[in-house]
Each structure stands twice: as structure tokens, then as C-alpha cells.
Amino acid sequence: MGLLSATALSAALAGPNLAAAQDSAGAVLTRLSDLHAVSRWAYPASAALIRSSPSARAHALGRLRFLTGDGQAELYLALASERLASGQTWIRVELPARPNGRTGWVPSEALGSLHAVNGFLLIDRRRLRATLFRDGRAIFGAPVGVGEPSTVTPSGHFYVMEKLTTLRAPFYGPYAIGTSAYAPTLSEWPGGGVVGIHGTDEPQLIPGRPSHGCIRMRNPDIVRLWAKIALGTPIEIT
């Protein structure tokens, strides 16, 4: 985890899972994250425009943001990079915005150093269970509470955006983890309706479907998960 040195990053980029491909125009596309084994993320270096394709002429989708709604550093999951024939490199990032699942491209200069994370968190809404995988192994598992049918927890690929301490809010338990997911039905919620993973003061409702879209865990479980999960870790909600 943590900041990837140039050496390690280069080695990982050239690894079998992160293969590069060159297209007919001479552009080299390299996968940076496979969302399961190795994934990479970065803080923004500037409030650059996010484009729909790796070109300064492409449609703009928004801007990189520096802070989350809770005043923490926003980070972006880097999915792939494309080095154009001109030598300029663009990075495809996952957008932590509504609607869920959008991606866009930013120049590589608009992002800071890439950090690497290993593994992913699987949230199974059917089995009401969270499992954290690392190196192909499950290193954490716990029952969860997910959104009730009217405020369903969204499915898809997301990532860990922030880690918060919530000692003054018993409703959220001792710790909370901010994700890049947004509740599909709660667009007017303060902060935009961010889906979090947090503890609870009603452990008897877990496992179950008691929440407004967030993923609730029993407090001992969120304490364990907090210690194991790293910023930028991909989250797969099925």
C-alpha cells in the first residue's frame, strides 16, 4: 500500500495483468488498475477538466475536485493511461459523481503520484456480507446491513474515498469509510448522497436491509475493516 516508488510502479505497469497495447495511431494504452489484484489512485494536482476521451478537444465532463463533501482529500482511481504519439499521457479515472459508474480522461500532469493498493472489498447485497480480499485471499468478512428496497444500495464498481473517525456520532459507530458511490434515490441528501460504510448503534438490524443506501456493520467489524482497508481500495457491490 501507500505511495508507489517509481521502480515498483514501473515494474507493476509492465506486469502481466497490466498489459500495454499500441493502436494504429501509435498511442500506447496501459491498464493501471484491474480492480481486484492491483489498483492505482492519485490525488489531483490541479482542478483540470475531465474529458470524455484522451484529447484536449473532447467533451468536458467536469473538473477534478480537491476536497470531498466532508472536507477530506478527494482521490481518483486511475483505470488506464494512454500515451499519445505526441508523447502526452492521459489517464482514465473513475468519477466519484452522480450518476455512478462514469469515467473520464485527464492529462497525467493533472494528477499527483500514483499510489497502489492490493485487493478489493466485495459487498454482496444478496448474502448481506462484506469480504475484503488481498492477494486473492479473503482477509476480512462480516455481515452487513444494506439499503432498504426504497433506498437501495447501488451496485457497481467504486472505491474507498476517505476514512473518518465518527466518535461523536453514535449512529455511524466509531469509524466510517467514505466511498465514491452515490445513493441513486437520495440526490438531495446533504453532501450529495454519498454511500458510506460505517458502524451502527443498532447492531440487531445486521444482517438486514435497514439503511438509506449506506453499508452498515457491527462496530467490532468496522473497527477491524478500518484497520485493514486502505484508501483507494476498489469496492465491488453486487
Binding site: 505511495l3 517509481a6 521502480t7 514501473s10 509492465a14 496501459t30 490525488y43 489531483p44 490541479s46 482542478a47 483540470a48 477538466l49 484536449a56 467533451h59 468536458a60 465532463l61 467536469g62 473538473r63 475536485r65 480537491f66 476536497l67 463533501g69 466532508d70 472536507g71 477530506q72 482529500a73 505526441s86 508523447g87 502526452q88 499521457t89 492529462p107 500532469e109 493533472a110 499527483g112 503520484s113 500514483l114 448474502r127 469480504t131 486473492g136 485471499r137 479473503a138 468478512g141 473518518l164 473517525t165 465518527t166 461523536r168 456520532a169 455511524y172 466510517a176 467514505g178 437520495l186 453532501g191 450529495g192 448522497g193 454519498v194 458510506g196 460505517h198 439503511s211 449506506c214 453486487t238
Partner: protein, 492 residues
């Protein structure tokens, strides 16, 4: 096969023959009566036997007939599936036999339905699960024991009927007792849902390594890559050669041959033998010259030889990938830059306004480009400018909540002035350098929550008395965050 009726007919024909031979009057009538007396009961018995089936068929409703047809079709499909499974099993057996012949691995299957196949070799254990129910989250618990030393059980979940997982092994030469066990929840009554297979594997010494060459333009702010990079005359290409021991014996690297690196620039490498699974890194550089620009690019490959200890295999030699640094002429560069000019950034609907304190309006405003502005538009006759590399500004990433430092490498720098949100902080000269860095310490206590712009205006040292010093700015964004102990705005 003669039937009873045929036998009786033959007997009757013999009787008739005898009667015709005697030619007695009135005997024909008796013979016909005997014939009828024999055949009629038989015919009645046959009709009685066949009538119920025919009547039943004629009594079936169309729904029943459709069901019967469907049942037949299902049975046909089942038979086809069985035949297919048998074919697959035979193919797997043949494959296993081939693998065994090669000595690469041993394949052992688990239960009567081959729901799991384990391929055990010296380098890895591959677990193949198949014919599981086609549903999400099939979960298998795997346990691996090597020489009676049990590794931590692994829970492997997969969606759909089949999946493969690999557990890498990197054992030194020798003989190992490998025990692979797995269990899962049975989806059918009576199905054996697991296996425990012991196998003895003999691992021979296998010297092997991988070598990979990466490059970057020095001071370009990028990272090492195997992809093509673009540089200009006067810039330096930094090379990094990663050598990983992928075999199961220690290796001593020698025969390092990299003639395209500049003489005397090769550094790094191991102090001695490199253990299995371990890596070592070499470095070297090349200064891009006019000749490289004339050629259009500069490519580089390295060759390394790995030698195992005596008696543990033979030396192995590998060449790395080839990396290419493009060196376009100034005219080509100008054309490319012209082609990439931004036509003006529209403000799309739904975009998020940038923080007011960011001070950045362009995606590239914070870029750590490798040369100064004067170097990007070289003046004729001032060749020294093209050789100037302005260092990057390094600082914290993510949230800052306490004092932090930002620094610039002092090599070749005449002076640097730091600004925070446009306010001048400090000017440092080469004499203030410490450990090769010009560093400023900043306490963010008085900074508001948000993004802040830290700029270093750098003046490079003069290369010659006749040249003007190059100037450039480097900038980073510093984030002052809220405390992480708060009540989040999550949906709950």
C-alpha cells in the same frame, strides 16, 4: 428367430403335404377346419395383446403427448450432456498425461464428478473448479500443506460454474510432500463436496530470471515506463533495469551488457547472489545528442547473465525489452504542439467549480515539465539553454494537518523563491542547500480549509558567463483538510 406361430405353420404345411400326398376325398374340408381351429385362437390372442397399447395411445390427450415428447427431448439432452462430460473427462485425462510426460505438473481430480482438478507443480498449485452451480459466490475453502507445514486456509469465491486460482510456490530444489485440500457446500444430497489429495513432488534446480528495462526523461516529472518517451537534445534519459529471480535457486548476475548506456553511468545491482523471488535494479543514463535527433529516436536493450551455484543448474542469459526514446526535431515538436493546442475550454453543464484558492485554470499549469520556458523556445546561438533541466517542486500529497516541507533539488539552481497563494515565503540560494535540497517548512495552522497553491520560482545557475540564467516556475497544490473526526454526510 422362429416364432411359435411360424413353427406351427411349418408343422401344418408338413401335415398338408402328407394329406396332399394321400389325395383322400373329404380330407380337404377337415384340413381347412383344422387350419382355422389353430390360427383363429392365435389371432385372437394377438389382438388381445396389442389392443390395450393401441387404445391407450389413441386415448392420450395432446398435452400428454407434448409432455412425452418433451420428456424424450430432455432424455436426449441428458444423454448428450453425459457424452460431452465423458469426452471432456477423456480430454482432461489426455492433457494430464501430456503434462506428466513433460514433467511440468501433476494433475489430480477430486470427486466423482471432477468438480475440482488440482495441478501441482514445483512453481505453483493451480486449483480448477468446474461444474459448480451457475450462480454467484460459489465459495471454496482451500488448504495447502507443504511438508506437514500447514498454510493459512484460503477462501476463494467465484461467480458461475467454473473458476481457476493459482497459489504460487517458490520452493528450493528438493522433494516435497504437498497436501491440497478443499471443501465447499454441497448443492446436491450425497455429493462429495471436497477433496484431500497428497502428492510427492520432486523439484529440480531451475535457474530463471526476468529482465525488464524502463526509461524516463530526467526531471520530466513522469515515472519509469516501458513505453516510448519523447525528449530533446540536451535532456538525459534515465534507464532502470529490473532483474527478478523467478527460479528456485540463488543467482549471481554477471555479463551485464548495455552498450547503449553512456560510459561510466551504470550503477546499482546486487552485492552478491540474489535469492529466489528477489529483485535487483541497475541504473544508467544516456544524454540525448544531435545524432539521436537526426536518427529520430534512441533505443536501448540490455543483456544480463544469471549464474546459479555450482551443481544447481546452468547459467541463463536474457535480453530485456527494447525501450525507445523519441527525439523529434524542433520543427516536428512545434507541429505536434500546434496540433494539440486547446481550442478553449467550454464550461459544460453540471461541472464542479474549482476551489477559488487553487489558482489553476489549466490542466497543465501544475505540470512539472522538464525544461524551463526559455528552454522550450531556444534562441539561436544560445545552445546552453537547451541543456538546462529545471528540477521539480516536491511537497506533500493529500491532506496536510501539521507542518510540512516542500523542496527543490539544488543541482544547477541559482536561487528559488517560494510563494504560497501568491504570498512570498522565502528566497533560498545554492548556499542554503542541505542534502542537495532547497527546502521550505510551512505551518498550515493559519491556512483555511481548501486547496492552496505553492509556487517555486526557480532561477537556474548560469552555465557560461555569456548566457542568461534560465527561469521557470514549479507549482503544487497543498490541501488543508477538515479534521477526519467528524459526523459524515453519508446517507446512513
Amino acid at each position: 428367430m422362429p416364432t411359435r406361430h411360424n413353427r406351427q405353420s411349418r408343422a401344418l404345411r408338413h401335415g398338408l403335404g402328407r394329406s396332399y400326398g394321400t389325395r383322400q376325398p373329404g380330407s380337404r374340408r377337415r384340413l381347412w377346419a383344422g387350419w382355422i381351429a389353430l390360427v383363429l385362437p392365435l389371432a385372437l390372442v394377438l389382438v388381445a395383446l396389442l389392443a390395450p397399447a393401441g387404445q391407450a395411445a389413441s386415448r392420450r390427450s395432446p398435452e400428454e403427448q407434448a409432455l412425452a415428447a418433451e420428456r424424450k427431448a430432455v432424455e436426449k439432452e441428458e444423454r448428450a450432456a453425459v457424452r460431452k462430460a465423458e469426452r471432456e473427462e477423456r480430454a482432461a485425462a489426455r492433457k494430464a498425461a501430456r503434462e506428466l510426460e513433460r514433467g511440468a505438473a501433476r494433475i489430480v481430480s477430486s470427486n466423482e464428478r471432477n468438480n475440482a482438478v488440482v495441478l501441482i507443480s514445483c512453481g505453483q498449485v493451480r486449483w480448477e473448479f468446474r461444474n459448480f452451480p451457475d450462480r454467484p459466490n460459489n465459495t471454496v475453502t482451500e488448504t495447502l500443506t507443504i511438508n506437514h507445514s500447514k498454510l493459512a486456509p484460503t477462501t476463494f469465491s467465484f461467480d458461475g460454474p467454473s473458476a481457476t486460482q493459482t497459489t504460487p510456490l517458490n520452493d528450493p530444489p528438493g522433494t516435497y510432500q504437498i497436501d491440497t485440500a478443499a471443501k465447499w457446500r454441497p448443492w446436491e444430497k450425497g455429493l462429495k463436496a471436497g477433496f484431500d489429495i497428497h502428492l510427492k513432488v520432486s523439484c529440480a534446480p531451475t535457474p530463471a530470471f526476468s529482465v525488464e528495462k524502463l526509461q524516463q526523461i530526467a526531471g520530466g516529472g513522469g515515472s519509469y515506463t516501458t513505453a516510448q518517451v519523447a525528449g530533446r537534445v540536451g535532456q538525459t534519459v534515465d534507464y532502470e533495469i529490473l532483474v527478478k529471480n523467478t527460479g528456485n535457486v540463488p543467482l549471481a548476475y554477471g555479463g551485464f551488457s548495455d552498450p547503449r548506456c553512456d560510459p561510466g553511468t551504470v550503477s546499482g545491482g546486487p552485492g552478491g547472489e540474489v535469492a529466489p523471488g528477489a529483485s535487483t535494479t541497475y541504473f544508467c543514463t544516456h544524454l540525448l545528442r544531435e545524432a539521436d535527433q537526426s536518427a529520430g529516436s534512441y533505443s536501448n536493450t540490455v543483456t544480463v547473465k544469471g549464474t546459479p551455484p555450482h551443481g544447481e543448474g546452468f547459467p541463463v542469459t536474457h535480453a530485456s525489452n527494447t525501450v525507445v526514446a523519441k527525439v523529434p526535431s524542433p520543427e516536428e515538436r512545434a507541429r505536434e504542439e500546434e496540433a494539440e493546442k486547446t481550442p478553449g475550454e467550454p464550461t459544460p453543464p453540471g461541472t464542479t467549480a474549482p476551489p477559488s484558492t487553487s489558482g489553476s485554470s489549466s490542466p497543465t499549469s501544475s505540470s512539472q515539465s522538464s525544461t524551463s520556458s526559455s528552454a522550450q523556445s531556444p534562441k539561436s546561438g544560445v545552445l546552453a539553454f537547451s541543456a538546462v533541466t529545471v528540477p521539480a517542486l516536491k511537497g506533500p500529497q493529500g491532506c496536510v494537518r501539521g507542518s510540512f516541507r516542500a523542496s527543490v533539488k539544488s543541482a544547477g539552481v541559482g536561487s528559488v523563491t517560494f510563494y504560497l497563494d501568491g504570498h512570498k515565503l522565502k528566497t533560498l540560494t545554492a548556499r542554503n542547500a542541505h542534502n542537495g535540497l532547497l527546502t521550505v517548512a510551512i505551518n498550515p495552522a493559519k491556512l483555511g480549509v481548501g486547496a492552496h497553491r505553492l509556487v517555486a520560482k526557480i532561477t537556474m545557475a548560469r552555465i557560461a558567463s555569456s548566457t542568461k540564467p534560465a527561469h521557470a516556475s514549479r507549482a503544487i497544490t497543498v490541501l488543508r483538510c477538515r479534521s477526519a473526526a467528524l459526523t459524515p454526510k453519508f446517507t446512513g
